[in-house]
């Protein structure tokens, strides 16, 4: 009995000792950490699946042969894979030439966006001029009221473009996009100006003061000193601009841009073209060609994104995009 009491007393002491408590809390923490990690992993994997599932679905079904597409036992992994969908899609989309033109168009618009939006952003961030607050408010208005609102007036503006009797129809060309972008009204230009403004505001003023003392004028300072320092913001805006411009359907539809210029427009008609040329009636089979076309269209942006993504995310974190 005495022995038992002694042992209980010892046990109580051990339990109360700092070392024991420390170990207990440590063990609890490991369990907690493990459970949290498990929970986080489950959530991340789940969401990643939701995002990736359609991509996996499209890529896999673009390799399906006709038997695979009718066979109800086939899911995601084709039994007899074929690349016929791709050869057909490349052939009927006129893939490489049109892709080249689309990339030229996208690249040109992006360069214009970078130039015009960074200029405006620099002006707003570094100079004081009358009505500055009003104009910056207009930038916010541009972000809030999307171009979609003025879609129809834009359509009319470029349908009858010009002054007085010198009117031309600029539809079915790339001119409207370039004109709008060159004057800071391109796709999401307001957002880009905002990003650049916030970024330039965050840069130290001393660099420019040094440049001023050394006799650089404002344009030299902007091109040779500020722009090289603005690479996080430039990367951020460039990625947004390339991706959104490439995928854009708004300008393409509004100005009725030709399919020979934009690969996404060509994709719209791909199914009909193949159905006519190859005499295919089965909708399910046509869908497979369309999937191959979608993969072909998405490849360039995905490649650009993979190349730039690390710098892009760093850029977003450093560019003060949120103000």
């Amino acid at each position: 009995m005495v022995y038992v009491r002694k042992k209980t007393e010892e046990l109580r002491k051990i339990r109360a000792s700092a070392l024991y408590l420390d170990r207990k809390s440590k063990a609890l923490n490991t369990v907690k950490g493990f459970l949290l990690g498990l929970f986080r992993a489950a959530v991340i994997i789940g969401i990643s699946y939701v995002i990736l599932a359609p991509v996996i679905g499209i890529v896999s079904s673009s390799f399906f042969s006709t038997q695979d597409s009718i066979n109800p036992m086939v899911f995601t992994i084709p039994i007899s894979p074929t690349i016929e969908r791709y050869t057909m899609a490349i052939k009927y989309m006129d893939y490489l030439p049109i892709l080249g033109r689309t990339l030229l168009y996208t690249g040109g618009v992006t360069l214009l966006q970078l130039l015009i939006c960074s200029m405006a952003g620099y002006g707003f961030a570094r100079y004081n001029f009358p009505l500055k607050k009003l104009w910056f408010g207009c930038i916010v208005v541009m972000i809030v009221v999307p171009l979609n609102t003025i879609q129809f007036p834009l359509y009319m503006t470029f349908r009858y473009f010009g002054i007085g009797s010198h009117v031309t129809n600029l539809h079915k060309t790339a001119w409207p996009t370039f004109i709008l972008t060159a004057f800071g009204c391109g796709l999401k230009s307001g957002l880009y100006i905002y990003i650049f403004t916030q970024f330039f505001r965050g840069l130290p003023k001393e660099i420019e003061e040094a440049a001023l003392v050394d006799g650089a004028n404002s344009w030299y300072t902007y091109f040779r000193i500020m722009m090289p320092n603005a690479s996080p913001a430039i990367i951020t805006v460039a990625v947004f601009s390339i991706v959104w411009q490439y995928n854009d359907a708004f300008f393409a539809n509004t100005f009725n841009m030709p399919a020979t210029l934009l690969i996404t427009r060509k994709l719209d008609s791909l199914v009909d073209v193949i159905a006519n040329a190859e005499r295919i009636n089965s909708l399910r089979e046509l869908q497979l060609y369309f999937d191959a076309g979608v993969v072909l269209v998405l490849i360039p942006v995905v490649v650009i994104y993979i190349i730039l993504q690390r710098r892009f995310i760093e850029g977003v974190e450093r560019s003060g995009i949120v103000g």
Binding site: M156, T157, G184, A249, Q309, V322
Partner: protein, 307 residues
């Protein structure tokens, strides 16, 4: 002598020169904004009061002034305008809190350091790339295909979808959850794919916001003995509150541009109902802006600005 005097008269002081330089930098944007943006907004107002006829053959345009007839038509006799408008606005209001919560949650998850973070981040921002209307159909179809397995026909998908959902609805209904709450949750679960798709940029903005919170605040919280939960509510949330406002604006605008009402306006002008289309654009934009102003006003009251 003469030229020197002229020079002196036109010499500007430092401030004026600075203002001129500032204007020279924003000039391209300013011209474009006034000519295209403001010009088009004014035109939109004009068009909403006109009936425009374009001759298909010659392309000549004829305007007839009809006062507010287009507005009257839109609200009284148009078949679907009011329905589409309400459903678009409702969708936007339902999605907004879901997207904000979801993107904040994901940003908190991704902001920690763990193995494979770069890969996970790359995957989470993928929806920004895939959010293209050109490939949208294919993606939606593929989503349906992948979520229901081998079900190949739409009827089959609908069946498997409704059976499981209604079972769970009943289960939670038996637990006496209020039906409105239940409907909202079920709706949110149904929309999970669209919510994930719609929150790519918001996640980026929140991650950037989280990175900009000074670490010293967390150190102080730790020294004072705050738990992780308390730190979240007392440090993180107040610090990202201004960015919640930014994200709200972005989400509302994004949802609006992809909503049915914008599609209806575009569809209407492609059917040569130019005046009516202008009315649709104008009304929906004004309503969206009012809602946005209200939300931002309410959030702004609770916001706290660190700087």
């Amino acid at each position: 002598m003469n030229t020197a005097a002229k020079k002196r008269r036109f010499r500007l002081n430092y401030e004026q020169r600075n203002a001129l330089r500032g204007y020279s930098f924003i000039l391209p944007w300013l011209i474009g904004f006034l000519v295209f943006y403001v010009g088009c907004l004014i035109q939109l107002g004009q068009f909403s009061l006109l009936e425009i006829k374009i001759d298909a053959g010659t392309g000549t345009r004829q305007d007839i002034f009809v006062k507010f007839q287009n507005f009257v038509d839109a609200f009284t006799s148009h078949a679907s305008f009011k329905q589409v408008l309400t459903s678009s606005v409702m969708d936007m209001l339902i999605d907004l809190p879901m997207i904000i919560f979801f993107s904040l949650f994901v940003a908190l998850l991704l902001n920690r350091k763990f193995k494979g973070r770069a890969l996970v981040r790359a995957i989470f921002f993928l929806p920004i790339i895939l959010s293209s209307s050109a490939v949208g159909d294919a993606i939606n179809r593929a989503t349906a295909m992948m979520t229901t397995g081998v079900a190949s026909s739409t009827a089959e998908i609908a069946e498997t979808g409704t059976v499981s959902v209604s079972y769970y609805i009943q289960l939670f209904g038996d637990l006496a959850l209020p039906p409105t709450v239940l409907e909202y949750v079920v709706g949110a679960v149904n929309r999970i794919a669209s919510i994930i798709k719609g929150s790519g940029v918001q996640i980026i903005l929140f991650i950037a916001a989280l990175q900009s919170i000074p670490g010293s605040l967390y150190e102080v919280a730790k020294i004072e003995g705050a738990t992780g939960y308390e730190t979240l509510w007392k440090v993180t949330i107040p610090m990202v509150m201004p960015h919640i406002i930014t994200n709200t604006i972005y989400t509302v605008v994004d949802r609006f541009t992809t909503s049915d009402i914008v599609a209806l306006a575009a569809d209407t002008y492609q059917k040569y109902n130019y005046g009516l289309s202008a009315v649709f654009s104008l009304t929906s934009t004004v309503i969206t802006c009012l809602i946005l102003a209200l939300i931002v006003y309410l959030l702004n009251k609770r916001a706290f600005y660190y700087n």
